[in-house]
């Protein structure tokens, strides 16, 4: 538990809390918060997990039941096989980590060039990239879709191909902004020193800049993975083949063909991998997110 000194005190001073009245109020508030927050944030998850065990009739029964009367674990098995969840989850991870790789390579290289190599017209390129921050992706969904159908100059159709998800994620002004700002803060002495040693830009990037940039790379990576994980409209449009869809699209399109209890079981399964990853790495993820967002 952190210590509360006057320097890091918060809204209410420790002295106030130490008074008998303060203590009573504090403990009441704490218990109410604990109960309410647990109900609000874990309650729905509990309901999801247990409703997956209910029978078709019980899951649509009014009033709803707190505990399944006659648990049917087979719903989970049906959901897993009929909705092909293994495939959907694998697709999702494939898209997410592919997008991550592309963003790390292209965006880091670009931000490095704009921050340290500063080519002619670099500022115009930077301006063009940052300008896209003002235009949310959904606005351009139609022309973007048309572009993916027939890539200009190359005349390639990217529909049903992972490139259709990976490449557009590179065009992320926010990444460039975060990375360039961070690289700007790396002292040029270091770069100059490396240059004296005869290191080219690539070696400088790999041996000096990247090792110093771990925090920001962590943030960009989390955003990259989460963005693909959360995206819906774009993958729905560019991955129409059911065997290539990520989990969000796959479950939604199959939701009409399965009974409610199997659907909820599928939802519970789909939530499990990320919840587990989060619970295992929550310390790193949360500190990474807050540190990065403050710097940004």
């Amino acid at each position: 538990m952190a210590e509360f000194t006057p320097a890091n005190r918060t809204l209410i001073s420790s002295a106030t809390l130490a008074r008998p009245r303060g203590k009573v109020i504090y403990w009441t508030v704490l218990s109410v918060v604990l109960v309410v927050f647990t109900l609000v944030f874990v309650g729905p998850l509990y309901w999801m997990a247990t409703s997956g065990f209910k029978s078709v009739h019980e899951v649509l029964h009014n009033p709803p039941t707190l505990v399944p009367k006659d648990p049917q674990p087979s719903n989970y098995k049906t959901a897993w096989t009929q909705l092909k969840l293994a495939k959907l989850l694998w697709n999702t991870f494939y898209y997410a980590f592919g997008a991550l790789a592309f963003q790390l390579v292209f965006d880091v290289a670009a931000a490095y060039a704009l921050s340290k190599l500063r080519p002619v017209l670099g500022n115009i390129v930077l301006g063009g990239m940052l300008a896209t921050l003002m235009i949310p992706s959904a606005v351009l969904i139609i022309p973007q879709y048309m572009t993916v159908l027939d890539l200009p100059l190359l005349h390639v159709n990217l529909i049903n191909h992972p490139w259709a998800i990976w490449l557009p994620t590179v065009a992320n002004g926010f990444n460039i902004f975060l990375l360039k700002r961070f690289f700007d803060s790396i002292p040029n002495d270091l770069m100059a020193a490396a240059a004296i040693d005869g290191a080219g830009p690539m070696r400088t990037l790999l041996s000096i800049v990247l090792p110093m940039s771990r925090p920001i790379l962590g943030v960009v990576s989390i955003f990259a993975v989460v963005n693909v994980w959360k995206d819906f409209l774009w993958p729905m449009l560019v991955e129409p083949d059911p065997s290539k869809q990520p989990i969000n699209i796959g479950i939604n399109s199959l939701s009409q063909g399965v009974p409610q209890n199997v659907l909820i079981a599928a939802l519970a399964i789909s939530a499990l991998p990320t919840l587990l990853i989060f619970l295992l790495f929550q310390r790193n993820i949360m500190s990474g997110l807050t540190a990065g967002s403050l710097k940004g």
Partner: protein, 468 residues
């Protein structure tokens, strides 16, 4: 009317024309037979040469959730291979077979399968996207032996400017599906289903009053997913109305019939409370609820009965089918397969051979009633009905021989012989617009029906104008 009559004329002319070309082709084929297969494979009118090596992708394979249908599909492919060992069919399962939005996306992206499923109303859209191959020259009584017996009205929907683009696989005419057991339990006569909207309202209220405490509602209606618009159109057809003008350029649904039907639905929902509180948003909700015995009746096509029994736990004996309320005309819709524009002639031939085998040959594929009976797929539903003449007679005889469903439950529907009427041009767009009207009535107690209809009329007129 004049449009339909015109279409029928075109159809007749076409059938005649096809007959002529096929005759021409077949005479030339005979010569080629001696000379070798080279020339015959290049002429469109001949059936696929079994020696031709060709691969086609086909969608709408039944999903894993529909076990017997899936098994039959695979068995049929195996049997088809005996005749055409060199044709490889890559089946894709999708459920539902068509989602209008994804269908658009597929057409835009040319990512549909070589032989692709659609609603018969989609021809216009498919042509706009430039995705359908003209199969006129490929379809004749050699490639599709039962062609002469396919109802020309059904084929006409798949034609544009005299050219044929698709082959039908099934068709339906809308009616009222109702739960006979619920009718009995509520003290209503299951052999006398309602035939007008007023009777629906009365019966629905009786069901609600008697059985509402058990969570059973009298009636169900959709308000989204194009289902609401489709049902409203069906209801208007039942009243003898149209939804667009005869030339297809103006909306024609805003009238006293629409107002009165919508008012009845509104009153069932808000005055009698004889409908569920949630307006159906997705296809499947009415079937699930009917299957679970929670609603008394709703507008549907006959194949819903099969779906409810196989997927959602309903019992054949409980389900009955009555003609569409009003009984003036009944909306006829259906499904078909189109052929992708980029298909090679051999792919088109292989596709036609497959569709012909699976969907258009009596005693085979979907018409193999003996097998349906063993596999537990119901036999005896009044659908499809696109055959006429000798084929129709054979089909009816087969159906009677293997019937597994209580045919008498659909007697009033079959006996009514309501004249069918095809769906409006740009049907899916109109349905989206009409969804809003239905959802307004179902979700808002104070809904202003006049305003909902006039807004929808403005919107529909614009869409129709933009589509010109």
């Amino acid at each position: 009317m004049s449009r339909i009559r015109y279409r029928r004329l075109v159809a007749v002319a076409l059938v005649a024309g096809i007959g002529l070309t096929s005759a021409a082709c077949s005479s030339s084929d005979k010569k080629d037979d001696n000379g070798g297969s080279k020339a015959s494979s290049s002429s469109a009118g001949t059936p696929l040469d079994p020696k031709t090596k060709v691969t086609i992708s086909v969608d709408c394979m039944p999903p894993t959730t529909k076990k017997p249908e899936r098994k039959q599909w695979l068995d049929d492919i195996a049997e088809f291979h005996k005749t055409y060992p060199n044709v490889t069919i890559n089946s894709k399962d999708t459920f539902p077979c068509e989602d209008t939005d994804k269908f658009t996306a597929q057409l835009q992206g040319s990512s549909e399968t070589d032989v692709f499923y659609s609603y018969v109303t989609d021809l216009n859209q498919v042509l706009d996207a430039g995705q359908a191959a003209d199969i006129t020259a490929y379809v004749n009584d050699k490639t599709v032996p039962n062609l002469k017996d396919i109802d020309p009205n059904v084929l006409a929907i798949l034609k544009d400017d005299g050219k044929l683009y698709g082959l039908p696989t099934t068709n339906y005419s809308m009616g009222l599906v109702y739960n006979r057991k619920i009718f009995k339990d509520a003290g209503l006569d299951p052999d006398k289903p309602p035939t007008t909207w007023d009777e629906i309202r009365t019966d629905s209220k009786v069901i609600q009053d008697k059985l509402g405490s058990k969570g059973i509602h009298g009636f169900f209606e959709y308000g989204a997913g194009n289902q609401g618009g489709w049902h409203l159109t069906s209801a208007l057809y039942g009243a003898g109305n149209n939804v667009v003008s005869e030339d297809g350029t103006k909306a024609a649904f805003n009238g006293p019939e629409a107002t009165s039907i919508l008012q009845t639905i509104h009153d069932m929902r808000w005055v009698d409370n004889s409908m569920p509180a949630s307006a159906g948003k997705e296809w499947g909700e009415s079937q699930k609820a009917m299957g679970a015995g929670q609603i008394g009746m709703y507008l549907a096509a006959p194949d819903d009965i099969q779906l409810m029994v196989q997927q959602y736990g309903a019992n054949f004996n409980d389900l009955g089918m009555a003609p569409i309320p009003g009984g003036k005309t009944s909306l006829m819709g259906g499904n078909d397969y189109f052929f992708k524009k980029s298909d090679s002639p051999d792919q088109i031939k292989a596709g036609i051979a497959w569709i012909n085998f699976k969907f258009l040959t009596l005693k085979k594929g979907q018409f193999n009633y003996a097998r349906n009976k063993t596999d537990g797929i119901p036999v005896g539903l009044p659908q499809p009905f696109f055959f006429t003449g000798q084929s129709k007679a054979t089909d009816t005889a087969d159906k009677t021989q293997y019937a597994t469903v209580p045919v008498q439950n659909y007697k009033s529907y079959v006996d009514a012989q309501v004249p069918v009427k095809g769906e409006p041009p740009n049907a899916q767009k109109l349905y989206t617009v009409l969804d809003t009207v239905m959802s307004g009535v179902l979700s808002n107690k104070g809904a202003d029906i006049g305003k909902l209809l006039s807004s929808a009329e403005t919107q529909a007129n614009q869409l129709l104008a933009a589509g010109q």
